[in-house]
């Protein structure tokens, strides 16, 4: 899960990485008061999780408490890239001289934490990596050894800073790494890490992503995850489905992530548009299948529901039962296309045909059929 900037900055403070003074405002009044406290000027930053907040108008500078009030009034409650702005980080303005880049990320192919740094911060690091990879230093940390001073020196050596600044940067790297490990981060990023007019290193922005699988160790964040989901996502999560909303009109249910994606791909290949990704996982019982099918059948965007199950642990008869039950309640004006094969296939097909549904043996045929059905609706 991605943390809000203010949460990330709280963690930074906890790990002795000093951030510019700030407060969190949920009302224009609070924005005004915080700005007052900060000396009369501030930068207001919309607390949203989507990327590209700045370009979308989510960052504003206030020259006075009153202006902070006005700007906060404008920003709060609006949507940035579809995400509602509920709060603003109201921060002291940093007089930026130079911008550096620093991040720690899990490197999937090496299987280790990778520290990335660059003298050129503030910009999109992926762009920089593509254009001028030589401007980025990258150091891997063996997870059995942890971060050692020599790793840190290899980074600070490459960045043009005074000895004093290098020491500060070393501390920031060490502390960021501790945070990264302690909080099971996938990413901990400071971009930009500003050098201000007085030569001090100041993290202007902060981005932290925590591994969802580790949230059982971080209950304080685990609870918040649910608050960010759409109603459909929330209901899917409650039943243990993997669910992703897409923008087409053919609902997709599969067992297994790869098979479900492949089903989506086939729909596209044959000219259709998937409405979602829904993986019921392995060994789902009839009730679970019913929940999954019901969820999509009552989804306004879904016109046809394509179910693709290859029974291994999952039993075809259970799947069939669940589908038939869902159809009874929600099937009025929706079409169902089923591909069913594998464990207890005969019994499953019998249950379906008793309910007037015929099942395909091949997923290619089923996908073609679903696409054809949408076209005639």
């Amino acid at each position: 899960m991605k943390l809000y900037e203010y949460e990330a900055k709280q963690l930074f403070s906890l790990y002795s990485i000093p951030v510019p003074e700030y407060g969190l405002a949920r009302t224009p009044e609070e924005a005004r008061d915080i700005t007052e406290r900060l000396g009369g000027k501030s930068v207001l930053k919309a607390q949203v999780l989507v990327a590209g907040r700045g370009k979308a108008g989510g960052i504003k500078f206030a020259e006075s408490p009153q202006e902070a009030y006005e700007l906060a009034k404008e920003l709060l409650g609006t949507e940035i890239k579809g995400e509602k702005v509920n709060s603003l980080l109201v921060s002291k303005i940093v007089g930026i001289d130079r911008e550096l880049y620093l991040s720690i990320v899990i490197d999937r192919s090496v299987g280790a934490a990778s520290i990335l740094a660059s003298s050129e911060g503030g910009i999109d690091i992926e762009e920089l990596a593509a254009k001028s990879p030589e401007k980025i230093i990258r150091v891997y940390v063996d997870p059995l050894v942890g971060l050692k001073p020599y790793h840190v020196r290899r980074i600070t050596e490459t960045i043009n800073l005074s000895d004093e600044q290098k020491k500060v940067l070393q501390d920031i790297i060490l502390n960021l790494y501790r945070l990264f490990v302690d909080f099971d981060c996938e990413l901990a990023e400071i971009n930009p890490l500003a050098v201000d007019k007085e030569g001090k290193l100041v993290p202007v922005d902060a981005k932290v992503i925590i591994d969802d699988n580790a949230l059982f160790r971080r209950k304080e964040f685990a609870e918040r995850v649910s608050a960010e989901l759409s109603d459909f996502e929330l209901e899917a999560k409650k039943h243990g489905f993997s669910y992703v909303e897409l923008d087409g009109n053919i609902g997709i249910i599969g067992n297994g992530a790869g098979l479900t994606m492949a089903t989506m791909d086939l729909v596209k290949l044959y000219g259709g548009k998937p409405a979602n990704f829904l993986d019921i996982g392995g060994g789902a019982r009839a009730e679970v299948v019913e929940k999954a099918a019901s969820l999509l059948l009552k989804h306004p965007k879904v016109k046809v529901l394509l179910v693709n199950v290859l029974g291994g642990i999952t039993r075809c008869d259970e799947v069939a039962k669940g589908l038939v039950n869902a159809l009874k309640t929600y099937g009025k004006d929706k079409k169902l296309v089923v591909r069913l094969t594998g464990t207890n296939e005969e019994e499953g097909k019998r249950i379906l045909s008793d309910a007037g549904i015929s099942a395909f043996d091949s997923m290619e045929d089923a996908a073609k059929n679903a696409v054809a059905l949408v076209k005639v609706m």
Binding site: P143, D211, R217, G256, A257, F277, I313, E364
Partner: protein, 292 residues
């Protein structure tokens, strides 16, 4: 010869008394896999489908020195401990079925296993099967048949789908391995390509990839660099997956500008790998390359 598991594979099931553990112990026994012991701390002395249960892997291995492979069904918070226990007890191949293990944990035990010379398949994987010899995993055995195609896949059911297509095409598999859907896995595609390369029984390889990371790109680069001798056919799932969203698997996400299906397909094709658009096409392409 097959890859990683064969007739000589003797299995201990860690977490054997759990729902999944006992269910798949039966399924593996039915398939003919030599499951010789199980472990659940505190349940030593029981038995599951005739398989004796011990309190520790150490004890299981002492009593059954022929054990060389472990399959782990332990829930994610306890799974790393189970892995370290297996490594310390001298297990050679660990099949780690468990899903939802924190990546910082798997990073550590995978690194450790590598340094100790232990092969980990998984986490979050269906396991490995050498049809007719041994199945150490949760896949339905009947969709596989003995043959000459090696399969390495990041997926579960999609592997069964494609294996089934291969079986129906009359080709069969030497060994099929699901390396797991997590961002970091013990074995990667190159590891398996290297093993299939040296395996006499394998004449062609199927790579089943999906969005996320750059494992397929690296496999493509490897195939090109060493001029891989055996024909490779691929399928990549997730052409329609949007960036920034996790598609079921922890590792199936397009992020930081990498991991989309198109770039994987491009890389594979540039290395001479035939990439199929549908599961059925995989079998068709295999027939072509095996003829040629």
């Amino acid at each position: 010869m097959t890859v990683l598991v064969d007739k000589n594979t003797h299995v201990v099931v860690q977490g054997i008394t759990g729902r999944e553990g006992s269910f798949h112990t039966k399924a593996m026994l039915d398939y003919g896999t030599k499951v010789v012991a199980g472990v659940t701390p505190g349940k030593g002395g029981q038995s599951v489908y005739g398989v004796p249960v011990y309190d520790s892997v150490y004890e299981a291995v002492s009593k059954h020195p022929e054990i060389n492979t472990s399959i782990i069904f332990v829930p994610s918070p306890y799974a790393p401990d189970a892995v370290y226990e297996a490594i310390e007890a001298g297990i050679d191949v660990i099949v780690l079925i468990t899903e939802h293990i924190p990546v910082h944990d798997s990073m550590r035990f995978i690194r450790y296993a590598k340094l100790r010379g232990v092969s980990i398949i998984g986490p979050n994987c269906p396991g490995i099967i050498s049809p007719g010899e041994s199945k150490v995993g949760i896949m339905p055995g009947h969709v596989f048949s003995k043959g000459k195609v090696g399969i390495v896949s990041r997926s579960g059911t999609l592997t069964y789908e494609i294996a089934y297509a291969i079986t129906k095409a009359g080709l069969g598999q030497s060994t099929a391995v699901g390396i797991g859907g997590d961002p970091i896995t013990g074995m990667n595609m190159i590891d398996m390509l290297e093993r299939f390369r040296e395996d006499d029984e394998t004449e062609a390889i199927v790579l089943i990839g999906e969005i996320g990371g750059d494992m397929e790109e690296r496999a493509a680069e490897y195939i090109r660099r060493i001029n891989y001798e055996k024909p490779v056919v691929a399928f990549v799932a997730g052409r329609t997956a949007p960036p920034g969203k996790r598609m079921g698997h922890a590792g199936a996400i397009i992020s930081m500008g990498t991991g989309d299906a198109e770039s994987k397909i491009r890389a594979l094709e540039a290395s001479g790998v035939k990439v199929a658009s549908t599961p059925v096409e995989v079998a068709k392409l295999l027939k072509d390359v095996l003829k040629g």
